[in-house]
Amino acid sequence: MVPHVTALPVVVPFITAAVLVILRPLSRRWVNDAVSIAGVTTVIVLCAILLERSARRPFAYWMGGFKPVHDVTIGISLSLDPLGAGLALFSAVLVLASLAYSAHYFDAVDGLFHALMLLFGAAMVGFSLTGDLFNLIVFFELMGAAAYALTGYLIEERAPIQGAINFAITNSIAGYAMFIGVALLYARTGALNMAQIGLALDRHGADPLVVVAMVLLFIGFLTKAAAVPVHFWLADAHAVAPVPVCVLFSGVMIELGVYAVARLYWVIFAGPMHPHMAALRAILVAVGVVTALLGALMCFQQRHIKRLLAFSSIAHIGVFICGIGLLSARALAGVAVYVVGQGLTKGALFMTTGVLLHRFKTVDEYELHGRGREIPVVGVLLAIGGLMLAALPPFTLFAGKSLLEDSAASAGYGWLIVVFVIASVATGAAILRVTGRVFLGCGPADAPGAGQARAARVTEEEMQDRPDHTPPMMVVVPVLLLVLTVAVALIPGAVPAVEEAAARFTDHAAYARWVLAGQAVHWPAVAPSHISAADVLYSAGSVLGAVVLAAFGLFGRPLRRRVPAAIGVPWLRALHTLRDLHSGHIGDYIAWWTAGTSLLGAICLLTLA
């Protein structure tokens, strides 16, 4: 009934990593590449099998055979539903893509890089599959340990060290907050399995203890997801990590934080929070809106392309948090589709940036002015990516965004559509502006902000030599990712299948039944949503808006001078303040973290308990 291979997607990369380390003195670069790629490919096959099985019927796999007796369990389960399994598959695909990309990208330190990437992948897969709250945190910490080291990979540089330190400290504190959350829930329910905790809380209802536990767990995962105001680490870390690692950070790691919030809500807190759904929805949507707008604003400000992409990820995370916060199955389906499209596109964009870094040793937009003309193919990729981010119909990001917009409208949050459009316009426009400046030589070649230019240059030995020759793999992989972005939502039945999966994911009562009792649950068929004319209109508008905004970014300097000082000066001052807040000082970040946590806690205690 339950596939025997269920544990293997986590175990295979563990074994592969250990073997790589044992054989490190003997192995050659190509052996490391081949072994790690083979390991990840196995994981992909296994995840695909599990996805297929769980789509037919979700199931729990009990480690060591410690099955629950009368709904009480002491064992650890992997609880597989199609959304979790799909996310595991998606993580594995991105790991494969970045390993393939890095095979010709840089001189990886003999095997250590590969082993860490495998462990990172294993952690993401385990995180998506596990049904045990504490196990979830173990995988969170494993993901962290591998990610901190990978961020600081380029030890010859300043920025990666600082980025890794801020990343590690912020995420560790988030982890401790989650430990306290788990402790509170364990004290209340005597359980660590998420389904069992949810079942126990259904009987108790919400009280301050449950609310505080929820706040601590949510803030922990929102820190991973980089929600405002606990997002500060992200730009530091994503701007400096090696490109193949950035692909995983932006493409799937931070999205896993959002996934965990959704999972915890629907499995654990949906029962006690049911009477307060409207308030919780308002709180989460507010967090999402602030995150999306700040990300969009900061994204368009950047000239350091990797930092620009990092802030565009924050904008998208804001959109995802809004989607989760709507607390409906359809919005969740929208987020799932959007995550896949965004992850693939963002991965391709980071890889494209990697080509620029490889060839010109800088990712500063102004320094690269017009220099991209020698590699027009890369420019085409960048432009396509920009249009995708602007939600060009009828591709994957558009499909996800339409679902989100429909469910926002039907939840009475129609104004959210404006936020979604702003996020699409700003992130798309920023990429199109870079394309215009770097590959077409549009706009001026100089601008204030020499500090950022210096930071964008590299002196390290990250790359292999021969920069005038771009290895074909570095173009092939992003092309494949963009092809997937185009294709996924166009596969007949793909989006309805995600809607089906989201409906199962959000069925709080059924989850406890299929996990703890192993019962088959019969869900009613979900009527697939249809794309309305309004959706196409919004997206056409956002693509157009992105093009116009990009043009403004390139040619708008004369226009900007005409803005009256009464508006222009305070606006610039506000932008400056905002930029200064992203100071890189870990003390600042933790002070903001504390402020965000206590604010969220206070609001939740006042409205939800």
């Binding site: 074994i15 490190r24 003195p25 480690m63 060591g64 860490l116 173990v138 340990a145 301050p208």
Partner: protein, 252 residues
């Protein structure tokens, strides 16, 4: 933000966070009033099924063995990370003279003490590792004690002899074999008992060394890994502190 602004923000937010925590903690049962099922179920299961007597180790290596797997690989990943981050860079040399210079000054009596310390640490470590399922201790604690045994050479001021005694590559291989072994023991469960991490060895008599099914083997695998892990981390840091120097007359 200025230092002052930062501290002011925290002065407001910190007490707020403390208040949120306290409000949450007030819902906890009074200290000492624990009466939940999980622990009691475990206590029953482990003694009756596995004949393990230390329930903490039993949970670690049996019921929640999968958590321990994750935990072992957290350690493994951070050892890889430390190795990666503390690698010798361009413009740096390992100066072997510096080490002896920096560590000299130990008297003969201290050296003798260190020499005597080593076998007792090894004995203690081995005891902790293999008796994990019976008495307090287990692979993790025993592993660190075992790692401390060669590190005791430091007290004698002979860092380079530690490096000769424990060549990095060999230690790294030992660590990898420990981590791999733990994975494979889980796989043994899948092969012989058709579930990952299911015990596939006889339970034995409670209190005896070879009881508690595969737990002693798990403990040994973890012990090997932890020993290797700590030795690698320690030597990586000590290398930096004692050996690695910037090449003189050269910018970074």
């Amino acid at each position: 933000m200025s230092r002052r602004a930062r501290l002011t923000l925290f002065a407001i937010a910190g007490p707020g966070l403390a208040a949120v925590l306290i409000i949450g903690f007030r819902g906890l049962p009074a200290f000492g009033d624990y009466h939940d099922v999980y622990g009691l179920v475990v206590n029953g299961v482990e003694l009756s099924m596995r004949h393990a007597t230390d329930y903490v180790t039993a949970l670690n290596f049996d019921v929640r063995a999968f958590d321990t797997l994750g935990e072992e690989y957290i350690l493994f990943a951070s050892v890889l990370g430390v190795t990666l981050l503390l690698r010798v860079m361009r413009g740096e040399d390992e100066e072997y003279r510096a080490a002896e210079h920096g560590m000299s000054g130990s008297s003969d009596a201290v050296r003798l003490a260190a020499l005597l310390l080593i076998p007792s640490l090894i004995a203690l470590g081995v005891y902790l590792v293999i008796h994990g399922a019976l008495t307090p201790g287990g692979g993790f604690q025993g592993g660190i004690v075992l790692a401390a045994a060669p590190a005791a050479i430091l007290i004698a001021g002979r860092y380079l002899e530690l490096k000769v005694l424990c060549p990095t590559r060999a230690i790294e291989a030992a660590e990898g074999i420990g981590a791999l072994g733990y994975c494979l023991l889980g796989l043994g469960g899948l092969i012989f008992a058709s579930v990952y991490f299911k015990n596939f060895l006889p339970a034995g008599n409670p209190g005896q060394l070879l009881s508690a099914g595969f737990m002693p083997l798990n403990s040994i695998a973890v012990g090997l890994e932890v020993m290797g892990a700590f030795l690698i981390v320690w030597t990586a840091f000590l290398d930096q502190a004692l050996l690695v120097r910037r090449r003189t007359g050269e910018a970074t």
